[in-house]
């Protein structure tokens, strides 16, 4: 099949509230190719979760307004009826949520919860479904799956619950797996387990993955391409190498510079991004990041388009010229290099 597996075209999501219209996602376009892992990075409120929830049509708020298209294998998900979308959810596109404590139903056995999904999408007997659930639980690394299939969610640890969620998400062999902060609620050693599990599933089944996270370290390890979101828009998008070794947007520089990293000498100070993200109700007319940006100039009052300014498919939404960027970038990303301060 040619063309992308999943294509988001000019998606806009806004919510009517008492205070005004909240533009949660503003003109976002993304593509996901077969077998690829796309990382979406951003802070809370940047619209990364809302984007993917809209793809799954999981936003049922009557005050939500949608615009744009989501093409999955050529059909527009935004135009489907609820019945039609149900046949794609779980079967074509699986999803893992952030909090494994709240995304499983506490009053049903975990095995039953996975079985339900299989039986919804496929015409299989209860016994066959149950056998498959046991296989799935074994595949995601749950020891003694034959017995654990009859356990309740509270009898599992956080990491094990996330494994159950993953088993559920991949139970019908989806082509696309959307993982929304799959490891944020977990400890680092458990995070490493879950990430390597996702990698293994990706290799075994060729599943394409959309990985939503705020952790630059996680996307550096997992993603082929990365989109950085800020205030509802994509501000930068490129291959993993381009994004880490030649980031083009000052917000990305700020994100990279504000991490206390283990792989570099300890800087005297971290280069924090000053201020807070803007309110999504009153977004500035120009660049949304301008207020917090140290490199702002007159043109920033115009909204920068997401364009390929480098010339290799690496998109960014910043008015600075490439020369200007090169000059200031390293100082922001490598706070350990700017130690001498009177």
């Amino acid at each position: 099949m040619s063309g992308p597996l999943l294509e988001i075209r000019n998606l806009t999501v806004s919510f009517r509230t008492e205070d005004g219209l909240v533009r949660a996602v503003d003109d976002v376009s993304l593509t996901l190719n077969e077998g690829e892992t796309l990382g979406i990075v951003g802070e809370s409120g940047s619209g990364k979760s809302v984007t993917m929830m809209s793809v799954m049509r999981l936003i049922t708020d009557p005050n939500a307004q949608f615009g744009g298209q989501v093409l999955y294998k050529g059909s527009d998900l935004m135009a489907l009826s609820q019945d039609q979308i149900r046949s794609i959810r779980g079967a074509g596109i699986g999803m893992i949520f952030q909090d494994p404590m709240t995304s499983l139903n506490p009053v049903y056995k975990v095995g039953w919860q996975i079985e339900e999904q299989i039986r919804e999408h496929e015409n299989v007997s209860k016994q066959a479904a149950r056998a498959r659930v046991i296989d799935l639980l074994t595949a995601v690394g749950i020891p003694n799956a034959r017995e654990r299939v009859d356990a309740y969610p509270h009898q599992f640890s956080g990491g094990m619950r996330q494994r159950v969620m993953i088993a559920m998400a991949v139970s019908c062999n989806p082509d696309v797996l959307i993982a929304d902060e799959p490891t944020t609620a977990l400890d680092v050693t458990i995070q490493a387990q879950i990430l390597s599990l996702i990698k293994k599933l990706r290799e075994d089944f060729g599943t394409a993955v959309v990985l939503i996270t705020h952790d630059m370290g996680v996307v550096a390890d997992m993603a082929d391409r990365i989109a950085v979101m800020y205030a509802g828009r994509i501000v930068e998008q490129g291959s993993r190498r381009d994004l880490f070794y030649g980031p083009q947007h000052p917000y990305t520089w700020g994100l990279l510079g504000s991490i206390a990293r283990l792989d570099r000498p300890r800087p005297r100070r971290l280069s924090a991004i000053p201020g807070v993200p803007p309110s999504l109700i009153r977004l500035p007319a120009g660049c949304a990041f301008a207020d917090r940006c140290g490199h702002r100039f007159e043109r920033c009052s115009e909204r920068p388009e997401l364009l390929d300014r480098v010339g290799n498919g690496h998109l960014d939404a910043c008015h600075l010229t490439i020369e200007q960027k090169q000059e200031v970038r390293d100082r922001t990303i490598h706070p350990e290099l700017v130690e001498e301060k009177p």
Binding site: E43, A192, K199, H214, D263, L270
Partner: protein, 374 residues
Amino acid sequence: MTDGEAAESGTELPVLDAGPQVAAGDLLLRAEHVKKYFPIRSGILVQREIAQVHAVDDISFELRAGETLGLVGESGCGKSTLARCVARLHDLTSGSVIFEGTDISAYSRRQLRPVRRELQMVFQDPYASLNPRKRVGQIIADPLRIHRAGSRDQIRHRVAELLELVGLSPEHVNRYPHEFSGGQRQRIGVARALALKPKLVIADEPVSALDVSIRAQVINLLDDLQDELGLTYIVIAHDLGVVRHVSDRIAVMYLGKIVEISPAEELYQRPVHPYTEALLSAVPIPDPDLSASTQHIVLEGDVPSPISPPTGCRFHPRCRYATEICTTDEPPLVQHGSPGHVAACHHPLNAELPSATADMVGSADGFRPATTAT
């Protein structure tokens, strides 16, 4: 703020400069064999104790004035319980906490009052740790009022001073917590902790609830305040990058025990305990090439239950170096490498070769082939 200047001389709160001064480098706090077990009770009429959670099990450490001790470990390892024991928010099961030369472990609430002035906490969740019905001014003034630190005017000026100190505007006194962002709320929490000019501030996951870009702001603030006010910190965090950035020394905890204490940089360069090694290698590296060329040790299984911790070394069921002795004998904390670097392990890593890199044999990860340099 002409008003503020006029009262400048009056801002010295009478109560706050009491107490002996501790010079930087002097011993400020010592914990000796601290144990905290929580009972598990069962029964309908008669609640019998059926088991105990060994949250903190025989921990000793020292803290010198002006330094920052980082406490790392996974959730459930007892790091918060230890901090609460030190702050005497919990009663100890046994052991002692010696603060400024006096044993406070058996102090009553009344006796603890003057100690609380010197020893304050910053909590994890800035949304839950501030009373939503109180104005920011009241929240920060509360400790001053409770300790009768001065007149109303003096307290008002101190609050304005504190707001400025943590990077907020003094005009914010009449706002409610919900009007602030997460980072700003954490600043309010810090201002409240500093109100009584404490010597020791215990920060329990001060930045983990905050967004990445805001985290750096709060870390830098804590750093600046330490320089400015000569504070001593105990910083608890599960983010090893954050801990390395703020700490002078780091204690690694696993299942109620300290398994390694080390000067900060040395811990990252030469981890001695296999758990420390695994913990460090599990941190994702925001550099694709480096990440691909690094061996990631993936620990199998979960942390065992602290109700019945494993015998011998508590880490042995998940440890890839474990041998017979690890299952039976509990290793003591022994010095490895430079002074102040102790670890509890029968098979210490990096112990002899100061500059050797970790000897990493095959990946413990069952799913992924060993990653190699590209």
